[in-house]
Amino acid sequence: MQGLQIVNLELPDLALAYGLVLLAAGLARLRHNGQEWKILWASLRMVVQLLAMGYLLHFVFAIKSPLPVLAILLVMGGFSLQVMGGHVKQKMPHFYRVVSCAIFIGCGGATFLFCSVIVGNTPWWDPRYLIPMAGMIIGNSMNGASLAAERLCSEMSGRREEMEAALCLGASSRQAAEAALGQAFRAALMTNVNNMAAMGVVMLPGMMTGQILAGIEPVVAVRYQIAIMCAITGSVSVTSYLILILGYRHYFSDAHQLKMGEA
């Protein structure tokens, strides 16, 4: 798949690019909004994190063993959980347990399916595919999952009266929560659906751009993009669905009672 030789960026080239960040910081200083240090700090983090990731991947590619690959995936998953924990203000009961379980099954399943069945890698853990794919799938699912978790909470507290009315008519907790679950699932998938519809016209996605830059034939790059979008959609829907299905139960007791103070 090695096509054209890609232009290698040397240190002076990077320094020049970093000049654009300094420009951003300079503009912020001009506006006196106190953002300049934040910009510099964030850009520094970006540089250090990416360099570290680059060397780490270099190392992992070299030793050809599944264990470090899986370890990286676990760290990525854990990190996404931490980011979600920071994002989602109103947390459902047992938030971390529910979300980690959903991400593990939803993202893990989609990534495995994509790498080992659709692309058909041998070995299935080939880090050149597995790590970037998992990154894209987890990153995108995280947004959907945050939306699902947040919406579940607000629907559960907003529909308390409705759910108790349903329970009084003999509804099970699942039946009582049905409307809330439907709304939350819709909200979780919205971004992904909009993204798919805008794909190729409004947005040229990162993976495709990267492959084209690396000299891959655009028609081939497009096929990869289509496949990864499908995997992301599957992952977002399964992860969100699991969050809702595992999450709503914690609002009810086994006797189909809405718990006090949870909503």
């Binding site: 108790e164 009084c168 003999g170 509804a171 039946q175």
Partner: protein
């Protein structure tokens, strides 16, 4: 799970030494109800009156198991509620809440809800059960096609009564059913409750701070204050000869409604 028992006149709902403790914030658990025992019989209306915050709403929520007591037990026809299937129980012990909640859709769709939940065939608009529930709740057939959420509060409360009656329950729980209504609707609904209890031999438990309503329709009255039953008897006894200072104060209260 045991089958829902057939109700005898003598013992429909019975509470024995019911206590409810609840954690509120970081503080110690507070006692919302303590040592509550009473019996509500079929064909009679038992009213629980008392000031707000006295535990009335908590008490009524125990009777269809929206909550469970911390200690003590509630029996339906002699069987502990916790041994019954909660979903079937709530069809047998129906509740009309203080504020009627109407599901989106027509009145007919609202009335069919419990059949949808139970996975049973829906009632036809002209079925005998449906017409009986409508008539008992003083609603015309023409209401069936109306949008439930566009109705007045009084009409909504009558729909929620019909919705409760449609599963032919043995016990009807009424939680401040008239407090959101104007006086005319409240009186009309009170009349409906009385007829339902007599004609369908229902056991009705009414929770209210409206002494006028309790005095007009109840056979028995309990005065609940501070989580305890302080007095019990016929409404006439309680309202004319209070034995405790709390009841006397409640009767003379800041907003006494006509007795």
């Amino acid at each position: 799970m045991m089958a829902i028992p057939a109700l005898e006149k003598e013992e429909s709902l019975r509470l024995e030494q019911v206590c409810v403790l609840r954690q509120q914030g970081a503080g110690p658990r507070r006692e919302l109800l303590s040592g509550i025992s009473f019996l509500a019989a079929s064909g009679e209306i038992s009213a629980i009156v008392g000031p707000s915050g006295g535990g009335k709403s908590t008490l009524i929520r125990l009777l269809n198991r929206l909550e469970d007591p911390t200690s003590g037990a509630v029996y339906l026809g002699g069987t502990d509620l916790r041994q019954l299937d909660p979903l079937q129980l709530r069809r047998q012990v129906a509740l009309v809440a203080q504020k009627p909640f109407m599901f989106q859709g027509t009145v007919l769709e609202n009335l069919q809800r419990s059949f949808v939940y139970a996975g049973k065939p829906l009632l036809a608009p002209d079925s005998a059960e449906l017409l009986r529930a409508l008539a008992a709740s003083r609603l015309d057939e023409e209401f069936l096609t109306r949008d439930a959420r566009s109705l007045s509060l009084g009409e909504q409360q009558r729909v929620s009564l019909a919705r409760a009656l449609i599963t032919s329950p043995g016990v009807l729980l009424l939680d401040e059913p008239t407090s959101a209504l104007d006086r005319r609707s409240a009186e009309e609904l009170g009349q409906a409750f009385r007829e339902i209890s007599r004609q369908q031999r229902l056991c009705v438990v009414l929770v209210t701070h409206d002494l006028a309503l309790a005095g007009r329709i109840a056979d028995h009255c309990l005065f609940l204050d501070g989580g305890r039953i302080l007095e019990a008897g016929s409404p006439a006894e309680l309202f004319t000869r209070p034995r405790t200072a709390q009841l006397a104060r409640f009767l003379a209260g800041p907003a006494p409604q006509e007795v």
